[in-house]
């Protein structure tokens, strides 16, 4: 397979900065608008894209992304729409890593082999599934790896030394560090605890470590970017889409550019 994820982190490292990972919910506010939002992320300087698959019961998400899920499902977004959004993104942006993020049930509904297959064909590079921990890897992991897709796992403040090897088993692409024990978009962890956690994770893996949950301002992003390989921003972008709806693209682009500048970008394409 063409691996887009490792080269992207490598390039950022060469540029002496952390990668900017941006999340939006697919189909928010409508499936037709998502393409423009994704383009705005790339134009603003996002290095990797997480495309959320909407779900009726987003248990790990805070109010911002819960609402985005409702907007998307309210607009009638289907799994087929998400795959089409992914495929058309891939045509427009051959090099930008694209990751599907969501909950297990929509991913396994038609079988994990089916999902891995269609995701691969749509040009997706990896998958993050919130509610499939290592213990249930068999539900999705083998099919993804068989298709040559990265299964990107989450580590959290409760992932201690004893547990870390289990989390890393079968994970690839990068490691997503959820910096707060909580839901998305709520509060940010103390910088010192993030530094300590990233060091702990890095002692166990060579995978790049991206840090997310609660990152909202360019200053926060810059601080985390000094210690991590990547910074993930989601709820703050989703809030902009919530506020401006179908007209959010320029605002999204502007906000993402502010993050990218803070991470130390000289130029944004």
């Amino acid at each position: 397979m063409t691996d887009r994820i490792s080269p992207t982190f490598a390039t950022c490292r060469e540029q002496g900065r952390a990668a900017l990972v941006c999340f939006i919910t697919g189909g928010d506010p409508t499936p037709n608008d998502t393409g423009a939002m994704l383009d705005a992320l790339v134009a603003g300087g996002a290095d990797l894209i997480e495309l959320g698959m909407p779900f009726t019961d987003p248990m790990a998400d805070g109010p911002a992304i819960q609402k985005a899920n409702l907007r998307s499902l309210g607009a009638g977004t289907t799994t087929a729409d998400i795959l089409e959004i992914a495929a058309s993104f891939r045509q427009r942006h051959p090099q930008v890593p694209l990751i599907l993020m969501g909950y297990a049930n929509p991913m396994i509904r038609r079988g994990s082999d089916w999902f891995a297959d269609v995701a691969k064909n749509a040009g997706v590079d990896g998958v993050i599934c919130v509610d499939i921990p290592t213990e249930e890897d068999g539900e999705l992991g083998p099919a993804l790896r068989e298709a040559g897709l990265h299964f990107i796992r989450l580590a959290t403040p409760t992932t201690d030394k004893a547990r870390l090897p289990a989390v890393l088993q079968g994970s690839s692409g990068f490691l997503y560090y959820v910096s707060v024990a909580g839901i998305t978009g709520k509060q940010q962890a103390a910088q010192a605890s993030i530094e300590e956690a990233v060091a702990h994770l890095k002692s166990g893996t060579d995978l790049p470590v991206a840090v997310g949950f609660g990152v909202r301002t360019p200053e926060q992003a810059a601080a985390i970017g000094k210690v991590a390989d990547g910074v993930v921003v989601g709820s703050a972008i989703v809030d902009i889409i919530g506020e401006h709806g179908a007209n959010a693209a320029p605002h999204v682009r502007e906000y993402v550019a502010s993050l990218r500048t803070a991470l130390g970008a000289e130029e944004v394409a």
Binding site: F55, T56, D57, P58, M59, A60, D61, G62, P63, Q66, L70, L73, T78, T79, Y103, A104, N105, P106, M107, I108, R109, R110, V130, D131, I132, P133, T134, E135, E136, E139, R153, L154, A155, T156, P157, T158, T159, D160, R163, V167, V178, V180, A181, G182, I183, K186
Partner: protein, 403 residues
Amino acid sequence: MTIQNSLRTQPDEQGHFGQFGGRYVAETLMPLILDLEKEYRKAKQDPAFEEEFQYLLRQYVGRPNPLYYAQRLTEELGGAKIYLKREELNHTGAHKINNCIGQILLAKRMGKTRIIAETGAGQHGVATATVAALFNIPCTIFMGALDVERQQPNVFRMKLLGAEVRAVESGARTLKDAMNEALRDWVANVHDTFYIIGTVAGPHPYPELVRDFQSVIGKETREQILEAEGRLPDSIIACVGGGSNAIGMFHPFLDDPEVEIIGVEAAGYGLETGQHAASIAGGFPGVLHGNKTFLLQDEDGQITEAHSISAGLDYPGIGPEHAWLHEIGRVRYEPVTDDEALAAFQKLCKLEGIIPALESSHALAAVEKIAPTMGKDKIIVVNLSGRGDKDIFTVAKALGVEI
């Protein structure tokens, strides 16, 4: 039957009942539920834990409750002898308290200083608030905002018992959303909070430990029917939402092939209308709230809203052990509609002077269909899981009566 062939040794070490069950939770919760499992194994080996559990069931809950021969109902239906397991006589009026006692003892062992729970109609919320008061541990109950409106008496009961009731505004604002919100709270407060799940669902080890705590129902029933009739019943029947009263009744009988076991799902307005809560009859396997089981869902895996006149059965899933028992054919699951349950509710009031919960009325409606087809020498036990005082407003409305 040998141990190897026993149906009573599930789940496996990974918490799976066949393909169902498991631990489908966010990574933040994994260490916590592994810890809970370890602590539960230790508690099970600890005679002091069992002793305290039994003491509270006896002195606080009021167990054992009777297995009552319902003579007038039996005569009216004209077939098998019908016995009612009187869970509705427990403190707080339902089987829910059995599980809450067990879980609060675990919370205490684990040194947790805060309790959370989800509730639909408020029965599990009241039972949780009750044990939290008893053990002097602060308690927050998550309840869908719509349910808060519909179940004001229970909301007030919980508050009297010292619990904070948080109305959940997300989704359809019912039980499913309350559970989502409880999980969100738990993930943010893992260090000090114990989540008392009200049914045999959620991530392993919850389906196992809730079943174990509720199995007192079936164990007592077994002893009581042997004493009354000198043999096991021909059929046992219980209603199934998540399925904790049912599994508590069924589990001690799983290895007795001569006992037919029937679970009753809520068919709402009828399976054909799509507005029901019958996950087995109308659902497909999937993953929600930490476990794999039968779920009401669409072709994209989006969870669909359940409907039942009974708030306690109004949930789009079912406990994973039930999903497995259905798949292997040990338990038969039958649908019963709102109307059938309402009729059974009224019949029990008039014939036996017992106001049953609408949940339990579903099981009674199934008895009405089955008993007349059986000989008078046959025996049916039905679990009367709760009392119906909480339901009088709903029933009055359904009957067009103003109170």
